[in-house]
């Protein structure tokens, strides 16, 4: 890894993950990476390519195809003072480790009355739009969202990837770090050099607007932004908030915006029922009902078991920038 001495570098999201992991491994001997194909193969997206040569197989550990063990071992390492970064190769395969994440990692601090913490990061690529079909397209955030003690991060921009991954590694408690795989090479941006963090639980107001608040995260942030900008030509003023952290949720940022625009649209790729949008919607209804000038709306995937492989099925499952623009237009004009 060449260290460039400028203020910032242009990277895509996959490069931002790689650069951040590299710096973390460089700066702190307690940091280690474990997962399927992270060593010799250098991760399926080449995020950890050559790490094993530089840091050795004791800190870049190739594991068997056994997700429960990957997380379970990492939990023990974290409790005993290491800083493990566990990788689940695709979020679609995270289910076997559910018990270790929800039943163990998230509860360590509480169960030990604060004597132990679990400074563990679980990274995993998620999301569709890449013709990944049933087992390479899922969004898993809602399955973990309900769990106190677990933080969930889903950045959209390379600079946020770095700042939030650093904050996740520094955090004394477990963080589920979700990387949208379609944004990996699609999204490029300036990333400041050197170590910095972005606080977990802080949303980012990407675009100001006065007539509608749109809240999203991950890939859809980019599409929602594109839709909102296109609507400016029609004279419509839409505010776009990138959650960045799904939990803790930045209630203050959402409420402040909704109190201004009086309308809320939530867009996410995960299916609608019981999704992140449901929680945001309930929170706003509880806290800001009398500021609402239109029913809250969620644009999300249909309740079908999975994203289909066939292109028309994938397109049907996902919301396009055009569909987002339509929903925004209807809400502004409501």
């Amino acid at each position: 890894m060449a260290v460039v001495s400028t203020q910032s570098s242009v990277m895509n999201n996959v490069e931002a993950v790689r650069a951040t992991l590299y710096e973390a491994m460089k700066n702190d001997d307690r940091t280690l990476i474990l997962g399927e194909d992270v060593g010799a193969r250098g991760n399926v997206f080449l995020i950890t390519k050559d790490f094993i040569n530089e840091f050795g197989p004791q800190r870049v550990i190739d594991t068997p195809i056994a997700e429960a063990s990957i997380v379970g071992i990492a939990v023990g390492m974290a409790m005993e003072g290491l800083r493990p970064i566990a990788e689940i190769q695709f979020a679609d395969f995270i289910y076997p480790s559910y018990n270790q994440i929800v039943g163990e990692a998230a509860k360590i601090r509480y169960r030990s009355n604060g004597e132990y913490t679990c400074p563990l990061v679980i990274r995993t690529p998620y999301g569709g739009g890449v013709r990944g079909a049933l087992s390479h397209s899922v969004s898993v955030e809602a399955l973990f969202y309900h769990v106190p003690g677990l933080k969930i991060v889903a950045p959209a921009f390379p600079a946020d990837v770095k700042g939030l991954l650093n904050a996740s590694i520094d955090d004394p408690d477990p963080v589920l770090f979700l990387e949208h795989k379609k944004t990996y090479r699609l999204i490029k941006g300036e990333v400041p050099n050197g170590h910095y963090t972005i606080p977990l639980g802080k949303a980012n107001l990407l675009k100001e607007g006065s007539q509608l608040t749109v809240v999203s995260y991950g890939l859809y942030v980019h599409w929602a932004l594109e839709a909102a900008i296109s609507l400016e030509q029609e004279g419509l003023s839409v505010e776009v908030i990138d959650l960045r952290s799904i939990r803790p949720m930045d209630k203050a940022a959402i409420l402040e915006s909704v109190r201004k625009t009086r309308k809320l649209l939530i867009v996410h790729e995960d299916n609608k029922f019981g999704g992140i949008g449901a929680e945001i919607s309930a929170m706003v209804a509880e806290e800001a009902l009398f500021d609402l000038d239109a029913p809250i709306r969620r644009l999300a995937a249909p309740d079908v078991p999975a994203m289909g492989y066939a292109m028309p099925l994938e397109e049907e499952y996902m919301s396009s920038p055009g569909e987002m623009a339509d929903a925004m237009r209807e809400m502004v004009k409501f």
């Binding site: 009398f290 609402l292 000038d293 239109a294 409501f334």
Partner: protein, 448 residues
Amino acid sequence: MATTITMPQLGETVTEGTVAQWLKAIGDTVDKYEDFVEVSTDKVNAGVPSPVTGKIRELLVKEGETVATGTPIAIIEEAGAEASAPTQAQSPAAVESPAAVESPAVEKPAPTARAEAPAAAPSSNGPTAAGAQNGAPESALRGASPAVRRLAREHHIDIRAVKGSGSNGRVTADDVLAAARNVIGARPAAAPPSREAIPATGKTSTYARPIPGTLIPLTQARRIIAERMVESRHTAPHAWSMVEIDVTDVWSWRQREKSRFERETGLKLTLLPFFIRAVVESLAAFPLMNAKFVAATETQHAGIYVNDAINVGIAIGLPDNLVVPVIKRADQLSIKGLAIAAGEMIDKARKGKLGVDDLSGGTFTVNNNGANGSWASAPIINGGQAGIVTMETVVKKLVVRDDDTLAIRQMMNACLSLDHRVVDGYVASGFLADLKRRLQTMGPQGEL
């Protein structure tokens, strides 16, 4: 089918009501929701809408007569039904006595004036009168979003009379705000009170025109004032304290904002909203001052109830009456919001349009007492509250400042009467000191 109308309960503690005026005579038709009688309770005159469309068959209570709530007062023959009994005979008796003893003519807003006020809001919003007639109004109310309802309530706007700019003519929050701006802008500055009234018939001595050597019969309002004052003074042990406050900065802040505020809202900017703002902030800091003493009952021990809302009553003196309309949740309003709310209350008070809702629910009272030069006063607490504060006249004084220099400053006394059952001097003086600090650090710049 005949429907019997009973004396309504206007307010939760009200047990009786006086028929102030029948707005319909026997034989008149009345529409559903149309006011057909004006009832006075406590200090309020309220129109009572008919629950049905029909013809007035009987009026069972004379004007001026006070009956318990729930007592039948009229019978209305519903539209489409045959009048089943000859009722003409009773007509003269029922409408006979316009000058009944208890009927306080002074308090009675003329029916025409009543009709005018609500209409004022809609008409300033342009072509809405037409919309209000074609069936749109009810659906407008049904489709009103929570924000629209809240804003309409805060700005006293009738949603049904606002022209909607949303999809399918929906009234949006912005529409309500636009209507509110129109109403405020269009309102003539403090219309003179229209209480020409009282043709001094014979030798009737009234509060407004007292005749020496006569007994003025108590109006409902004066009777209530008398009862309340005696009750408060006798049940709540009053203690009193006063602080002197340097309001120079508040004064200049108001001077700076005055013309802009009047231009934007059509209302005068007095010092009152600044005072209320400081008071609600201090009440938030001293919740015991926003409390009331609750006496023991058979089922409950005595205690001090700390109110969760801060609803500030503002004392408004009228020639024949004293009213204390309440600004609800005053802590949630900016100085500008308070100015608008207080302006509307004062306007309503002068026009005799205050309703039960306007007058109930107060948790603390502010009396801007200094207009006529009063320098100190010992107010009586509004019953069921922990205190009342008066803001006295603002005078220029030569003061010695902390660094021993002399300065000419605008000084004002604030006087507090407190219910000693609820708070002691410790809390009260802390409250006054807090109020003083807030008023002295308010302004002279910033957003209203």
